[in-house]
């Protein structure tokens, strides 16, 4: 139960990080022209942050096993 509660708390922390990444102030920073490897900056940012978040979630979930 101890371990599972820590896991839950880590996941909540990830939720808060994701919430910040995908909302107004941070989103605004990347909402401009320009490209990364030919991909528009905003698209690259959102998909990159999304993939990163999923990787972290996987890490938190699988680490505790």
């Amino acid at each position: 139960m101890q371990k599972s509660s820590i896991r839950g708390q880590r996941l909540v922390a990830l939720f808060l990080i994701g919430f910040l990444l995908f909302n107004y102030p941070l989103l605004f920073l990347f909402n401009s022209g320009g490209t990364v490897f030919g991909i528009p900056l905003l698209y690259a940012y959102i998909f990159g942050a999304w993939g990163g978040l999923i990787a972290l979630m996987a890490l938190v979930v699988e680490k505790g096993r």
Binding site: F15, L27, G38, Y43
Partner: protein, 916 residues
């Protein structure tokens, strides 16, 4: 090449495959070897979230708002991170209480209220109908478009068709028949459909593969990768605007509202609840789904933007509906096989959604709407029918057909006025209304039925007014003036700018007002009303689900019942054979041979009620059970007492557990302490016996020589002198030994006196060499010193240090060969330490004895032939002294190569007397 019959045959073949998978899944489940009992199938089946909305609609949305389609998938990703707290709780509650739908969940939480269950069912059915119509629209459009191959035309251009020649109508009826075959073949008390889940997981794979195939074709076949598409799009001003948020792509407010509504939808859409909660085989599968499901969403969205831009650039503006780009792009490129694959993918997305959604809704309609009503009608005499399971199945089948028909009519009515995503969002906003009642219900004990009822009603009405009715208006069913001028021409009541609120899009506007009304009424109503007995006990069972045991609900019942009554009641709804099996299992668990031997106590009544709850919902089950047994009502106070007692018992047992853990720890500590004591005791015994032994050696020789002198008075003078010399030497040795034993005892017990001062180690070494010079001379051993002129001061006890160095020097002398012996003493500074080395050219010490010589009374050498040359305490004492000043002592040596004894003393941190 793509004639109608090819498409139809392929579609039926595909549905046949699905059916085969479902059949196989059910067979395996019956045999007890489930194929869905793993986290991967669970995660894939959760992807029933991705419907034709995702498959066709996302591209359409992206074509008009750029990345604005994405919050619908970011929301669920964020929510998945919270599943560990929220979903796990809901799953546990549902399993304990045999909850089979969202309506059942809410009804059960708020005192098994039939009224609330019915209300939730109505909201769910009305709310979901637009969503079902979306699937019909997508499938029928894609079918019509595919039939035109290779010509690309939009279905709206083909004109209005009567119902009987409308493909959407046949698709709706076909899906209804398929779902009925799929989901209502038999009645299960847990409402689990293993075969269906297996088929849904398969469909998730198909739609993903199809979408990735068309995405890769557009991105890499028609264009040269992502960069190429985006750079070409950037060259067209109208498309360039889609590359960023804001303006045409919608505001941050819309973005946040869509994220929020999709977060709630992933939890509370009836089909998500069905798959995630009801069909969940094992709670632990949720862990992997937390990241696998978002990963699926990421994968299916990667190619949405390229396809959208590809379509916008490929077709002249306005000729082709962006919602159909996924299909029309391969068609325009003359790829019939790919187009057919896309059609099958879309069909997968639609059938998956329709099957699960209508099964979930039909369970709700049957358990929470129709059955309670039928049971109330005494004229039907349902109570007297022996087997009602056929009736239950019939109701569900009709419910499925009617729901699909309603979806079809909504499609005929409003389908053409909206894009796919906009239709779906209407449903999302509707199910969001369940959130306060459910989330509040599992965390907040004081929430009451009145509050939930008020909140749900208010939220639903506001939703209908601000989203549903305007959609009727747009399609001409209500006058347009309703939107433009407001109800009865009152401007404040304009449904899209309620009370003058402007600057938000429809969804955000509806969400704001409906959530305000919903949460407001829910909280206020809960705080203003008093819960009934049943509500209090259910609230406690839901909120404290992780603290209770499985059959905890049974303590809150008092009355009398008969086993036969209960059995016949359950067998009426489940069928006699299933009921007999369930009761048999229960009897076995309680150690009885047959259920007829069981006492008709609270546990059995509770068991019967949960069995019934699976089939007809918790509210109806409550009513049925209370009609079959004689119950004595419990007062609110009694219930509170029982609950209090239960929580006290829980707290007490927690405390007990903690105490016993502490006790265990203390025992372990005691045991190690005891071991240590025993060890010390043994060491003390060893020490005493060694000391006694060591004392006896000199004593024996003293006594022997004294006796000789005493008994033989004629001994000559020279002889006598020699003997007396030995006696004196042995006595000295004895004194030294006793002094050292006392010294060691003092050091070890910490009672030794220390007179620490600042001193120069160089001087101490010089003094020690001077003090032992006679020893060196006597044995003819050369002594060399290598002392630097400037040495930092150290803080130590001068006499003690002297003792250490003299001990080392005298040891060195002892083991040096006479005449050729050579002892070198060296003082050096080494990082933060002063180091003293005493090197001799004696016989050396085997490495295996390097540590042993620092033990008490250990002298290395052949005990039989060599006379012991010291007390065996010098080195242990020296080590103790050096250790006291924070230094360490060791030896480096090899047999025949001499030995070097070294010790270090730390310098004070701010180097006193140093070069500074």
């Amino acid at each position: 090449m793509l004639q109608g019959w090819v498409v139809i045959v392929c579609s039926f073949a595909y549905l046949g495959v699905l059916f085969a998978i479902a059949y196989y899944g059910d067979k395996r489940a019956d045999a007890g070897r489930s194929i869905i009992a793993n986290p991967y199938i669970y995660s894939l089946s959760l992807a029933v979230y991705c419907t034709t909305w995702t498959f066709y609609g996302s591209v359409g949305r992206a074509a008009s708002t750029g990345i604005g389609f994405l919050p619908i998938y970011l929301g669920p990703t964020l929510m998945a991170a919270l599943w560990w707290f929220v979903m796990l709780r809901i799953i546990r509650i549902s399993k304990v209480n045999r909850i089979t739908s969202i309506a059942d969940f809410i009804a059960s939480r708020y005192g098994k209220s039939q009224l609330l269950g019915g209300l939730v069912t109505v909201i769910a059915v009305i709310g979901i109908i637009p969503y079902i119509s979306l699937q019909l629209k997508a499938v029928s459009n894609s079918f019509v478009i595919l039939l035109q191959y290779p010509q690309v035309a939009s279905p709206s251009a083909l004109g209005e068709v009567p119902i009987l020649s409308d493909s959407a109508f046949y698709i709706a009826m076909l899906l209804a028949a398929f779902t009925i075959l799929f989901g209502t073949r038999h009645l299960d008390a847990t409402e689990r459909h293993e075969g269906m889940v297996a088929a849904i997981a398969f469909e998730s794979v198909v739609k993903l593969v199809a979408f990735l195939a068309v995405g890769a074709f557009v991105t890499f076949g028609m264009y040269n990768g992502f960069g190429d598409i985006f750079s070409r799009a950037a060259g067209i001003p109208k498309l360039d605007a889609l590359l960023t948020l804001g303006g045409q792509a919608g505001t941050y407010g819309t973005w946040a509202a869509l994220t929020f509504v999709s977060m709630l939808s992933i939890m509370f859409l009836p089909r998500q609840f069905q798959i995630a909660v009801v069909e969940n085989v094992n709670e632990n599968h949720l862990a992997k789904a937390i990241w696998l499901f978002p990963l699926y969403l990421l994968a299916i969205n990667i190619f949405v933007l390229p396809i959208a831009f590809g379509g916008l650039m490929h077709f002249p503006e306005g000729t082709v509906d962006a919602d159909t780009f996924v299909l029309t792009l391969p068609m325009a490129e003359r790829q019939p096989a790919l187009a057919l694959l896309v059609f099958i993918g879309g069909l997968s997305a639609a059938t998956g959604m329709v099957i699960v959604e209508t099964i979930a809704l039909s369970t709700m309609v049957c358990n929470d709407l129709v059955m309670p009503a039928l049971l109330r009608m005494r004229s039907l005499r349902l109570n007297e029918r022996p087997d009602l399971s056929g009736l239950l199945l019939g109701i569900r089948r009709w419910a499925i057909a009617i729901i699909l028909l309603l979806g079809y009519f909504y499609f005929r009515l409003a389908g053409e006025a909206y894009a796919l995503v906009s239709i779906g969002l209407i449903s999302f906003a509707a199910v969001a209304q369940f959130a306060p009642a459910i989330i509040g219900g599992i965390f907040w004990k004081n929430a009451t039925r009145s509050g939930a009822f008020a909140g749900l009603t208010a939220g639903f009405l506001v939703w209908a007014y601000t989203l549903l009715l305007p959609s009727f208006s747009r399609s001409g069913w209500l006058p347009m003036s309703f939107i433009e001028e407001g109800l009865f021409g009152i401007a404040l009541l304009k449904p899209l700018q309620l009370f003058g609120l402007e600057g938000m899009d429809q969804i955000a506007h509806c969400l704001f007002w409906s959530m305000l009304a919903n949460i407001g009424c829910y909280v206020w109503g809960s705080l203003m009303s008093r819960p009934s007995v049943m509500e209090t006990s259910q609230a406690s069972a839901f909120v404290d689900v992780f603290k209770r045991t499985v059959e905890g609900g049974s303590t809150l019942w008092r009355g009398s019942a008969s086993v036969d009554d209960l059995f016949s009641l359950v067998s009426r709804f489940l069928g006699p054979s299933k009921a007999a099996r369930a009761f048999g299992d229960f009897a076995q668990r309680h150690g009885a041979r047959s259920f007829r031997d069981l006492p008709a106590n609270a546990a059995l009544v509770h068991f019967a009620e949960t069995q019934l709850a699976g089939a007809i919902g918790s509210a109806s089950a409550r009513v049925m059970v209370s009609s079959a047994v004689k119950e004595e009502p419990l007062g609110l106070e009694e219930v509170m007492n029982i609950l209090d007692e239960a929580s006290q018992v829980i707290a007490y047992s927690h405390k007990l557990e903690q105490k016993s853990r502490e006790l265990e720890e203390a025992t372990t500590e005691l045991r190690t302490a005891n071991e240590r004591l025993k060890e010390l005791d043994r060491m003390k015994d060893d020490f005493i016996s060694t000391v006694t032994h060591e004392l006896r050696t000199p004593l024996t020789s003293i006594r022997a020589f004294s006796e000789i002198l005493l008994e033989d008075p004629k001994t000559d003078l020279a002889q006598r002198k020699k003997f007396l010399g030995i006696i004196v030497k042995e006595t000295e040795r004895l004194t030294r030994l006793i002094n050292q034993v006392l010294d060691l005892a003092k050091l070890e017990s910490g009672k030794a006196e220390w007179h620490s001062t600042e001193l120069s180690l160089r001087e101490v070494v010089e003094d020690a060499v001077a003090a032992t010079s006679q020893l060196f001379k006597d044995k003819g051993v050369a002594v060399e010193t290598a002392l630097p002129s400037e040495v930092p001061l150290v803080v130590a006890d001068r006499d003690r240090l002297m003792q250490v160095i003299i001990n080392l020097l005298s040891n060195a002398v002892k083991f040096c060969p006479s005449r050729e012996g050579r002892v070198r003493i060296r003082l050096s500074k080494e990082r933060g330490d002063l180091r003293v080395d005493v090197e001799d050219n004696g016989p050396g010490i085997d490495p295996e004895h390097h540590e042993a010589i620092f033990d008490k009374f250990r002298q290395v050498g052949d005990m039989l032939t060599d006379k012991p040359q010291g007390t065996g305490l010098g080195l242990p004492i020296s080590r103790q002294i050096v250790g006291h000043f924070g230094g360490r002592m060791w030896v480096e040596s090899a047999r025949g190569k001499g030995a070097t004894f070294s010790f270090t003393l730390p310098l004070p941190i701010p180097a006193v007397g140093g070069s500074a």
